[in-house]
């Protein structure tokens, strides 16, 4: 029966309180944060020197930052109801473009601009497939996931592209006020996105588009453009992370840069309690999710848990997060 009129909630609205008071609601919203606190407490007791600036900033946060930044872009795409599998390949392309540009003797600032422009172009490609041609996001971005790495490898000629350029490497190795650049970038991107989601017109239209595209269109929202911007932002942020990664290693490895990052990013968004159906986004939660998953892996490995087992545990944590989401529906 398709007639839905009777399925409406009919109880007096005033008597109802906004949701999220139940245990499941709490776990869904703060589950990742609670796990993070647990992990921090555990490490504070059992890991030597864990609570030092060095360990927290240079190890834990710096390692989490690349995935966190990619995950923030992913969160935008997921908010539209889509997904972006191409981020890892876009990282590799952008890293390769950046490395080749400085190797060609051009200034690092230009290398950054060029790499970001190429990454953004990848986003335009993804967005066009999704918006103009109605290709399912998972398929549309699978194309660059596969072909993008090929493009990066073509650019590299199949070799590791080593370079030395303090300017370009600053994104990976530099510090501002003692804080490693990847962490600075993560905080900066998160702050900007938080502001965009909370205060700008784009933030409203993003959630409206993902929440109910047909309704948003009838209310005058340019849903196509909103979606396009999300894919471009996701790709550009992936490009930025590509530059961070090659800066740290002083080499662009087209075969390995960003390998598997799309799944880590999706996991970070998922454990933040954001449903993949769109219409919601949690900027802080995504960062917390990425940091928590990284710390979980690091802790398990530091405890001598084999990597394989560590991965399984991570999988279990994601399952639990998704399960809590379902319960909270």
């Amino acid at each position: 029966m398709t007639e839905t009129a009777t399925a409406e909630p009919t109880s007096p609205a005033a008597a109802r309180r906004p949701g999220g008071r139940s245990w499941a609601g709490f776990a869904r919203r703060y589950g990742a944060a609670a796990l993070l606190v647990l992990l921090l407490a555990y490490n504070a007791f059992f890991t030597r020197n864990f609570l030092s600036w060095q360990t927290l900033m240079d190890v834990q946060l710096r390692q989490a930052a690349p995935v966190a930044i990619v995950a923030l872009g992913m969160a935008l795409v997921i908010a539209t109801g889509g997904i972006d599998l191409s981020v890892g390949s876009v990282m590799a392309i952008a890293g390769q473009v950046g490395a080749l540009t400085v190797l060609g003797g051009l200034p690092p600032a230009l290398a950054v601009l060029l790499a970001l422009a190429v990454a953004a172009a990848c986003g335009v490609f993804n967005g066009t497939l999704v918006v103009r041609y109605g290709v399912q996001p998972i398929i549309a971005t699978l194309i660059l996931f596969i072909a993008g790495r090929g493009i990066a490898q073509l650019l590299s000629g199949g070799k590791l592209t080593g370079f030395r350029n303090p300017g370009l490497q600053f994104l990976g190795l530099g510090r501002i006020a003692g804080i490693p650049m990847p962490v600075v970038l993560m905080l900066l991107v998160a702050a900007v996105l938080w502001f965009v989601v909370r205060y700008t017109g784009y933030g409203r239209t993003l959630l409206a588009t993902g929440g109910n595209a047909a309704a948003a269109r009838l209310a005058g929202v340019r849903t196509g453009r909103v979606t396009m911007v999300a894919y471009i932002a996701s790709a550009a942020l992936a490009g930025l992370v590509g530059l961070v990664v090659i800066g740290i290693t002083a080499a662009s490895d087209a075969n390995n840069v960003g390998l598997g990052v799309e799944l880590d990013a999706i996991a970070a968004v998922a454990v933040s309690g954001t449903p993949l159906t769109g219409g919601r986004i949690s900027v802080v939660g995504t960062v917390v999710g990425a940091v928590m998953l990284r710390l979980l892996q690091n802790t398990l490995i530091a405890q001598g848990v084999p990597r394989e087992i560590a991965q399984i545990v991570t999988g279990v944590v994601i399952v639990v997060a998704l399960f809590l989401q379902r319960r909270a529906r």
Binding site: T10, S11, P12, A13, G19, R204, G220, G279
Partner: protein, 514 residues
């Protein structure tokens, strides 16, 4: 038809979450009989079909098929036993060939492999029997809907279907294709196949059906040979109107006063086959104009075309006398038009967003300063409209999905009213909401019109049109067939126009069918 019925069901009950969808429904079809099944949205047609074909379990009732009590557990089960269903949206495999779609699941094999030659030959033969001649090796999706439906019918017949239920098969067909389909139905009938035919186009029903079952509110309200039920009686039975009911007429003598008012929005001869076949509406300032018509008459399609939500292939739209062509709702909004869809859940609310954001969604572009939402103004507007429409909620931050249907509808009205529109298009604004909220919304519409807003209103409730409207435009099969004003607006006149396609003159009674 003195023959023993092929399908007979009686006492059929079915509830969803305690809400009855079918109550003591009965229907029977004999071999070689074509039975029309008709009813409004929510009358229970699709539920009945789904209960009969095993999609849903019935709560109570008996079904006899070919003389035996049956209880199908799935559509496959029903199909194996000779009861096939053809849906409006063809449910076949689009990217496989026509032949595969016809023969899938029971293809001939040789040495364990599918014998493609035999399969293709059989498919060609079966389609030829329906007078369809196409290359059966091409994917189904390459063919028009009509051919896809013929394929579905051929498939049904290949299972030796004794009864074929056709659920609105003609709603997306062109005129010529409809004629072909009706021919096929007649041919099947002559071969002794029983058919249940669901359609909202009365002409089709009268052209091909022998008997008719009318459902209303989940009950069988008419069951007779179709020749004994005039179109007028059919429509009034379906809508639940009795001829004896005291006649109410339009009370807005104000219509004469507004006749001098300038035309703000006009649709001239809008066309998009097969749903729009020349619909025209004129809306003057401060006027409430109703759009009346049966399901599939093109009411919603006309409104959506006026708002730029759906394209038209022909016809003109004028805004304040100027020809316009809205490529998107956004352009219509800029021309100060608002549109509230009938599908509140699907096309109205953004369920996860707060009431605040839902109210200001259409206004958003005007609330921005350098891309940032002016929260002060937003709050002020939201507060004003929550008070103005008396929306009951815990606070503007509450999610809209937590409100009752009536309050959700008020939020959606607020979404448009806060944009300060000159034209408001409302599609079934009072459907599915409680009586109190309904009255409030009706009063509000009247007040707004008195303040100069022009309202185009769709309602399936004739009473509502009579009470609210200065003028009523009646649509039938996608075309405007009558325009009623002031005193001429009555249930009788509207029903007559819906049934016969012509405006009734005051004295003429409906019901004298050919």
């Amino acid at each position: 038809m003195a023959q023993e019925p092929l399908l007979r069901c009686s006492g059929m009950d079915k509830s969803f979450a305690g809400v009855p969808a079918l109550r003591d429904v009965h229907m029977s079809v004999a071999p070689g009989e074509v039975r029309a099944l008709i009813g409004q949205n929510g009358a229970g047609k699709s539920t009945l079909i789904k209960v009969l074909t095993g999609v849903y379990r019935r709560d109570a009732g008996q079904v006899e098929f070919a003389g035996n009590p049956v209880d199908f557990t799935s559509t496959q089960d029903a199909q194996r036993n000779g009861l096939a269903t053809i849906y409006q949206e063809v449910n076949l495999v689009p990217y496989r060939s026509v032949a595969e779609n016809i023969c899938i699941g029971r293809a001939r094999r040789r040495f364990g492999l599918i014998d493609w030659k035999a399969v293709n030959a059989e498919a060609r033969e079966r389609l030829a029997a329906l007078d369809v001649h196409v290359d059966v090796t091409r994917p189904l999706v390459e063919y028009p809907i009509a051919t896809q439906q013929m394929t579905a019918i051929a498939r049904a017949l290949s299972f030796d279907a004794k009864l074929v239920i056709m659920d609105e098969p003609t709603s997306s067909l062109a005129e010529r294709e409809v004629a072909t389909l009706l021919d096929v139905i007649r041919r099947l009938r002559d071969e002794g196949v029983a058919i249940v035919f669901v359609s909202h186009r009365l002409d089709e029903l009268y052209a091909v059906c022998d008997t008719i079952t009318v459902l209303r509110d989940g009950r069988t309200v008419a069951d007779s040979p179709i020749s004994e039920l005039s179109r007028y009686d059919l429509v009034s039975t379906m809508l639940g109107r009795e001829l004896t009911e005291s006649e109410r007429r339009g009370q807005h003598v104000g219509a004469a006063a507004t006749a001098a008012a300038p035309t703000v929005l006009e649709a001239r001869d809008l066309r998009r086959a097969p749903v729009l076949n020349g619909s025209s509406v004129t809306l003057r300032r401060g006027e409430v104009v109703g759009l009346a018509g049966l399901l599939g008459s093109g009411r919603s399609e006309t409104e959506r075309a006026l708002f730029g939500a759906d394209p038209v292939t022909d016809g003109e739209i004028h805004r304040d006398g100027e020809p316009v062509r809205f490529a998107s709702p956004q352009e219509a909004i800029r021309a100060r038009i608002g549109f509230n869809s009938e599908d509140r859940k699907g096309e109205g609310i953004i369920p996860d967003l707060s009431v605040r954001e839902n109210i200001t969604l259409a206004l958003l572009p005007r609330l921005l300063r350098r891309g940032i939402v002016d929260r002060g103004r937003q709050q002020e507007i939201v507060d004003r409209f929550i008070r103005r429409l008396d929306i009951k909620l815990a606070g503007p931050d509450q999610k809209i999905s937590e409100l009752s249907g009536g309050n959700q509808q008020k939020v959606l009205l607020a979404r448009w009213l806060c944009t300060d529109p000159e034209v408001l298009i409302l599609d079934e604004p009072t459907r599915g909401i409680d009586v109190g909220a309904k009255q409030e919304i009706q009063n509000l519409v009247r007040e707004l019109a008195d303040d100069g807003l022009s309202v185009l209103l769709i309602s399936s409730e004739l009473e509502e049109l009579i009470t609210d409207c200065d003028r009523v435009v009646v649509l039938r099969d996608g075309a405007t067939v009558a325009e009623l004003e002031g005193e001429d607006i009555s249930e009788k006149s509207m029903l007559h126009a819906m049934a016969e396609g012509t405006a009734a003159t005051g004295s003429r009674q409906g019901g004298d069918d050919d």
